[in-house]
């Protein structure tokens, strides 16, 4: 069963001058993780905001947990959890205050809200800082608390909009392990990210979006295959280069290329590890001992580059600056 379905979503701003979503369609199978990957401005946040009932699309259809988002937003709100790019918790209040307040707003009652807040604080390693105002928290702690707030009533579908944007590597690692644990627990998750590594690590499936539409979709492996096979890369001593190129070309069936400075011989191969073993055997027979051998699979960076014609990372700076004002966009 599909827990999330978006069909032909269109959203424009400034009377059509800016097209944030251009017939975007995607879906998430129950109990799986879909990562929506794209550079800033691709339409990730807009999609999440529509699915989480915060925004109405100009046209198109969206269902979450089997409920129509446009017709029954109030029912959708009962089954979703949302954690955004900005830690949406009250900075002045303490972590404890925040979770208890949100628990009460979910109509748990005071007692159950307190119990649930304490449970979540414990689970996200925030018990020690529970009675401190959020403004004293580190970026990673804020995000964890924000995530906790979206889990107060176990949501059927969880939306995480760029959960690690702006975090330092340690904070990111912590967030990842928390999210991985959730995924093990069987939550249906739609996660947006501009980090290729993050999509690779957390998602079952990836939808690559650019300019408001999905341009490719599949598992990380399938996307990588779409870009092309693997590359065999071998570094050898200078006097062995000629012979090595010959061996590699033979096995690859393609012309081997040489990076003279690195003494790196490489060629595309279609049989993966088998080609690697065969090459090593032939080199050994020829008395050549490579200094370094590797089989390079295309990274998601390569995927993105070949799909969009521009790298995902190159827009990152714009993301930091432009991201801040996004909330107020009318």
């Amino acid at each position: 069963m599909k827990s999330v379905i978006a069909e032909d979503l269109v959203k424009t701003y400034r009377n059509g001058a800016v097209r944030a979503l251009d017939h975007l369609s995607l879906d998430v199978e129950e109990g799986t993780v879909l990562s929506v990957l794209g550079p800033n401005g691709a339409g990730k946040t807009t999609s999440v905001r529509i699915l989480a009932t915060l925004l109405r699309p100009d046209s198109g259809r969206a269902m979450v947990g089997g409920i129509d988002v446009i017709k029954h937003p109030e029912k959708v709100r009962e089954v979703i959890g949302l954690s955004g790019q900005y830690a949406a918790v009250d900075e002045i209040l303490t972590g404890w205050d925040n979770l208890v307040m949100f628990g009460q707003l979910y109509h748990l009652g005071k007692k159950a809200s307190v119990a649930r807040a304490e449970e979540l604080l414990e689970r996200f390693s925030l018990t020690e800082s529970a009675k401190r105002p959020i403004k004293t928290y580190s970026g990673g702690m804020r995000r964890r608390l924000d995530l906790a707030a979206s889990l107060i009533v176990k949501p059927k579908v969880l939306f995480l909009d760029e959960p690690t944007t702006g975090l330092d590597p340690r904070g990111r690692q912590e967030m990842w392990s928390v999210i991985e644990e959730l995924v093990k627990g069987g939550v249906t998750l739609l996660l947006t990210t501009q980090y290729l590594e993050e999509a690779d690590q957390l998602a079952d499936e990836i939808a690559v979006i650019d300019h408001g539409k999905v341009i490719a979709r599949g598992t990380s492996d399938a996307l990588k295959k779409q870009v092309g096979g693997e590359r065999l890369e071998i570094v050898v001593e200078s006097h062995n280069i000629a012979k090595t190129m010959e061996v590699v070309a033979n096995i690859s069936g393609n012309k081997a290329t040489l990076d003279e400075g690195l003494r790196l011989v490489s060629a595309p191969v279609s049989t993966g590890a088998a080609a690697l073993i065969e090459t090593l055997r032939s080199l050994d027979d020829a008395g050549i001992h490579p200094l370094d051998v590797s089989l390079k699979r295309p990274s998601l960076d390569d995927v993105f580059l070949s799909l969009t014609g521009h790298a995902a990372e190159e827009k990152k700076e714009e993301a930091e600056v432009g991201g801040r004002r996004k909330k107020a966009k009318k």
């Binding site: 109405r56 709100r77 009962e78 979703i80 918790v89 307040m101 949100f102 707003l105 979910y106």
Partner: protein
Amino acid sequence: MRAVTDTLIITQRQLRLLTRVPEVLIFSTIQPVMFVLLFRYVFGGSIDTGQPGGYVQLLMPGIFVQTVAFTLAGTASGLAEDMKKGLIDRFRSLPISQSALVIGRTLGDSLLNIVVLAVMGIAGYIVGWRPSSGLLNVAIGFLFLLFFGYALSWVGIFVGLSATDARVVQNVSFLVTFPLTFLSNAFAPTTGMPRALQYFAEWNPVSTMVAACRELFGLENQFGATAGSFPSENPLLTSFIYMIIIMAIFIPISVRKYKRAAD
């Protein structure tokens, strides 16, 4: 029923914010108390009121009204702050009554006004303010002030939702409330103003509120060119009509705007 509970939880949040940052409460009471002292002792000596009890009797209603008028700025900037931090998105994604957040905020800001008005009343008493109309009328006067503050906090909701930056909100709100409180009878009789301004001041809701409070506190209002006009004859009724008009306009448009905050 659920809408009421939701609203009360939001109101509770407003109050909890005050206990977490007591400075807010302290400064929102210090400022009006400072105005009481400054006006009482700086201008008090040079303004001849022709009424028993001296300038402080006329001054206190003026300062009460000015203070509750600033509710507009407080509500607006608080809400703009929540918007900026994305907190509104979280609230809007919850299965709660969609107007709870804005109604809860207006109620919370009114509760703050109760504390502020009480402190100001005490400060006024210390420097010689003695309303002569009896406890009941004074109580009605305070209720009237709270009601005025409540109506204006709905304007604040609208301003807060319309603005893109919390600091701009603060500036815009002061730009509106400051001239309104000074182009009125709040601190000095309007009789000395140019004739055109006297008419403006007479119809200014701040003036009608101040005049209404003065009446309720047992004072006589002074009018120059505008004596005998409707607002000067019926300040209470005029103020009441103003409040109803403000709420009739701003409650629906603010709630509507909130529901579509991001569209």
